[in-house]
Symmetry: C2
Protein backbone atom coordinates (compact mmCIF):
# COMPACT_ATOMS: atom_id res chain seq x y z
CA UNK A 1 0.00 0.00 0.00
CA UNK A 2 1.31 3.47 -0.88
CA UNK A 3 1.97 6.27 1.63
CA UNK A 4 -0.98 8.24 0.28
CA UNK A 5 -3.41 5.35 0.74
CA UNK A 6 -1.99 4.64 4.21
CA UNK A 7 -2.54 8.26 5.26
CA UNK A 8 -6.13 8.29 3.95
CA UNK A 9 -6.75 4.97 5.71
CA UNK A 10 -5.56 6.35 9.04
CA UNK A 11 -7.77 9.43 8.59
CA UNK A 12 -10.77 7.25 7.81
CA UNK A 13 -10.07 5.11 10.91
CA UNK A 14 -10.01 8.23 13.11
CA UNK A 15 -13.25 9.45 11.53
CA UNK A 16 -15.03 6.14 12.10
CA UNK A 17 -13.77 5.74 15.68
CA UNK A 18 -15.75 8.84 16.66
CA UNK A 19 -18.54 8.71 14.06
CA UNK A 20 -19.83 5.32 15.23
CA UNK A 21 -20.38 6.43 18.84
CA UNK A 22 -24.00 7.47 18.21
CA UNK A 23 -24.71 4.40 16.10
CA UNK A 24 -24.29 6.19 12.74
CA UNK A 25 -20.73 5.46 11.54
CA UNK A 26 -21.16 7.50 8.34
CA UNK A 27 -21.34 10.96 9.93
CA UNK A 28 -19.94 12.94 12.85
CA UNK A 29 -22.40 14.77 15.09
CA UNK A 30 -21.30 18.04 16.71
CA UNK A 31 -20.63 16.15 19.95
CA UNK A 32 -18.53 13.51 18.18
CA UNK A 33 -16.58 16.17 16.28
CA UNK A 34 -15.82 17.98 19.53
CA UNK A 35 -14.59 14.73 21.14
CA UNK A 36 -12.45 14.03 18.06
CA UNK A 37 -10.92 17.51 18.07
CA UNK A 38 -10.16 17.34 21.81
CA UNK A 39 -8.37 14.00 21.45
CA UNK A 40 -6.76 14.32 18.03
CA UNK A 41 -5.90 18.04 17.88
CA UNK A 42 -5.09 18.72 21.55
CA UNK A 43 -5.01 22.42 22.30
CA UNK A 44 -7.08 23.39 19.27
CA UNK A 45 -10.33 24.08 21.08
CA UNK A 46 -8.49 25.63 24.03
CA UNK A 47 -6.53 28.00 21.80
CA UNK A 48 -9.67 29.19 20.05
CA UNK A 49 -11.90 29.73 23.07
CA UNK A 50 -11.28 29.76 26.79
CA UNK A 51 -14.70 28.81 28.10
CA UNK A 52 -16.73 25.62 27.62
CA UNK A 53 -19.72 27.46 26.16
CA UNK A 54 -17.55 29.25 23.62
CA UNK A 55 -15.95 25.92 22.64
CA UNK A 56 -19.35 24.47 21.86
CA UNK A 57 -20.32 27.52 19.81
CA UNK A 58 -17.00 27.41 17.93
CA UNK A 59 -17.47 23.76 16.96
CA UNK A 60 -21.10 24.39 16.01
CA UNK A 61 -20.13 27.29 13.75
CA UNK A 62 -17.29 25.30 12.17
CA UNK A 63 -19.58 22.34 11.49
CA UNK A 64 -22.33 24.56 10.07
CA UNK A 65 -19.80 26.36 7.89
CA UNK A 66 -18.60 23.13 6.32
CA UNK A 67 -21.81 21.14 6.43
CA UNK A 68 -22.51 21.36 2.72
CA UNK A 69 -25.73 19.38 2.73
CA UNK A 70 -27.17 21.25 5.71
CA UNK A 71 -27.95 18.26 7.95
CA UNK A 72 -25.71 19.52 10.80
CA UNK A 73 -23.69 16.33 10.54
CA UNK A 74 -20.33 15.89 8.84
CA UNK A 75 -19.59 13.09 6.39
CA UNK A 76 -16.06 11.90 5.56
CA UNK A 77 -15.54 14.29 2.62
CA UNK A 78 -16.65 17.27 4.71
CA UNK A 79 -14.43 16.05 7.57
CA UNK A 80 -11.28 15.88 5.43
CA UNK A 81 -11.89 19.39 4.04
CA UNK A 82 -12.56 20.66 7.56
CA UNK A 83 -9.45 19.06 9.09
CA UNK A 84 -7.27 20.41 6.28
CA UNK A 85 -8.59 23.92 6.92
CA UNK A 86 -8.03 23.55 10.68
CA UNK A 87 -4.49 22.23 10.34
CA UNK A 88 -3.50 24.91 7.83
CA UNK A 89 -4.93 27.49 10.24
CA UNK A 90 -2.97 26.07 13.18
CA UNK A 91 0.26 25.82 11.21
CA UNK A 92 0.05 29.44 10.09
CA UNK A 93 -0.30 28.78 6.37
CA UNK A 94 -3.61 30.59 6.54
CA UNK A 95 -3.40 34.32 7.33
CA UNK A 96 -6.23 34.09 9.86
CA UNK A 97 -4.84 32.84 13.20
CA UNK A 98 -7.55 31.19 15.29
CA UNK A 99 -6.69 33.37 18.30
CA UNK A 100 -8.36 36.28 16.52
CA UNK A 101 -11.72 34.53 16.27
CA UNK A 102 -13.95 34.67 19.36
CA UNK B 1 1.64 12.96 17.97
CA UNK B 2 -1.96 11.86 17.33
CA UNK B 3 -3.08 9.56 14.51
CA UNK B 4 -4.82 12.46 12.76
CA UNK B 5 -1.68 14.62 12.77
CA UNK B 6 0.44 11.67 11.62
CA UNK B 7 -1.89 11.03 8.67
CA UNK B 8 -1.87 14.71 7.64
CA UNK B 9 1.92 14.74 7.98
CA UNK B 10 2.28 11.74 5.65
CA UNK B 11 -0.05 13.37 3.11
CA UNK B 12 1.95 16.59 3.24
CA UNK B 13 5.21 14.64 2.75
CA UNK B 14 3.76 12.94 -0.36
CA UNK B 15 2.58 16.31 -1.70
CA UNK B 16 5.98 17.95 -1.20
CA UNK B 17 7.93 15.02 -2.66
CA UNK B 18 6.29 15.68 -6.04
CA UNK B 19 5.61 19.43 -5.73
CA UNK B 20 9.27 20.33 -5.32
CA UNK B 21 10.38 18.68 -8.56
CA UNK B 22 9.90 21.87 -10.61
CA UNK B 23 11.50 24.04 -7.92
CA UNK B 24 8.17 25.27 -6.49
CA UNK B 25 7.42 23.07 -3.46
CA UNK B 26 4.15 24.89 -2.68
CA UNK B 27 2.15 23.69 -5.70
CA UNK B 28 1.77 20.65 -7.98
CA UNK B 29 1.92 21.21 -11.73
CA UNK B 30 -0.14 18.95 -14.00
CA UNK B 31 2.97 16.89 -14.72
CA UNK B 32 3.80 16.50 -11.02
CA UNK B 33 0.20 15.54 -10.21
CA UNK B 34 0.26 12.89 -12.93
CA UNK B 35 3.53 11.45 -11.57
CA UNK B 36 2.06 11.45 -8.05
CA UNK B 37 -1.14 9.68 -9.14
CA UNK B 38 0.82 7.05 -11.10
CA UNK B 39 3.03 6.24 -8.11
CA UNK B 40 0.63 6.72 -5.20
CA UNK B 41 -2.69 5.56 -6.68
CA UNK B 42 -1.49 2.82 -9.03
CA UNK B 43 -4.18 1.84 -11.49
CA UNK B 44 -6.15 5.06 -11.12
CA UNK B 45 -5.09 6.66 -14.40
CA UNK B 46 -5.22 3.32 -16.20
CA UNK B 47 -8.75 2.60 -14.99
CA UNK B 48 -10.00 5.97 -16.19
CA UNK B 49 -8.41 6.06 -19.64
CA UNK B 50 -6.57 3.55 -21.73
CA UNK B 51 -4.43 5.81 -23.89
CA UNK B 52 -1.64 8.21 -22.90
CA UNK B 53 -3.33 11.22 -24.50
CA UNK B 54 -6.58 10.54 -22.69
CA UNK B 55 -4.67 10.23 -19.39
CA UNK B 56 -3.18 13.65 -19.87
CA UNK B 57 -6.58 15.16 -20.67
CA UNK B 58 -8.16 13.45 -17.64
CA UNK B 59 -5.55 14.86 -15.27
CA UNK B 60 -5.82 18.31 -16.88
CA UNK B 61 -9.59 18.32 -16.48
CA UNK B 62 -9.37 17.12 -12.88
CA UNK B 63 -6.82 19.79 -12.01
CA UNK B 64 -8.80 22.54 -13.74
CA UNK B 65 -11.96 21.40 -11.98
CA UNK B 66 -10.34 21.72 -8.57
CA UNK B 67 -8.00 24.59 -9.23
CA UNK B 68 -9.98 27.16 -7.28
CA UNK B 69 -7.68 30.10 -7.91
CA UNK B 70 -7.35 29.41 -11.64
CA UNK B 71 -3.55 29.22 -11.89
CA UNK B 72 -3.56 25.62 -13.23
CA UNK B 73 -1.48 24.53 -10.25
CA UNK B 74 -2.70 22.74 -7.15
CA UNK B 75 -1.84 23.84 -3.63
CA UNK B 76 -1.99 21.55 -0.60
CA UNK B 77 -5.62 22.38 0.30
CA UNK B 78 -6.77 21.74 -3.27
CA UNK B 79 -4.71 18.51 -3.32
CA UNK B 80 -6.34 17.10 -0.18
CA UNK B 81 -9.85 17.86 -1.51
CA UNK B 82 -8.91 16.31 -4.86
CA UNK B 83 -7.43 13.14 -3.33
CA UNK B 84 -10.45 12.68 -1.09
CA UNK B 85 -12.75 12.91 -4.12
CA UNK B 86 -10.57 10.46 -6.09
CA UNK B 87 -10.40 7.90 -3.28
CA UNK B 88 -14.14 8.07 -2.59
CA UNK B 89 -14.70 7.60 -6.35
CA UNK B 90 -12.37 4.56 -6.45
CA UNK B 91 -13.93 3.03 -3.35
CA UNK B 92 -17.43 3.31 -4.73
CA UNK B 93 -18.79 5.75 -2.17
CA UNK B 94 -19.48 8.14 -5.02
CA UNK B 95 -22.16 7.04 -7.50
CA UNK B 96 -20.03 8.09 -10.50
CA UNK B 97 -17.57 5.30 -11.32
CA UNK B 98 -14.55 6.68 -13.20
CA UNK B 99 -14.95 4.06 -15.95
CA UNK B 100 -17.95 6.03 -17.23
CA UNK B 101 -15.91 9.16 -17.92
CA UNK B 102 -13.90 9.28 -21.13
Amino acid sequence: MTKLLISMGIMHDVFQTYAKRDGDAETLSKRELKELLQAELPGFLESCASKEKENEEKVKQLVLGLDQDGDEKMDFSEFVIFITAVILMIHGLDPRPCQKTK
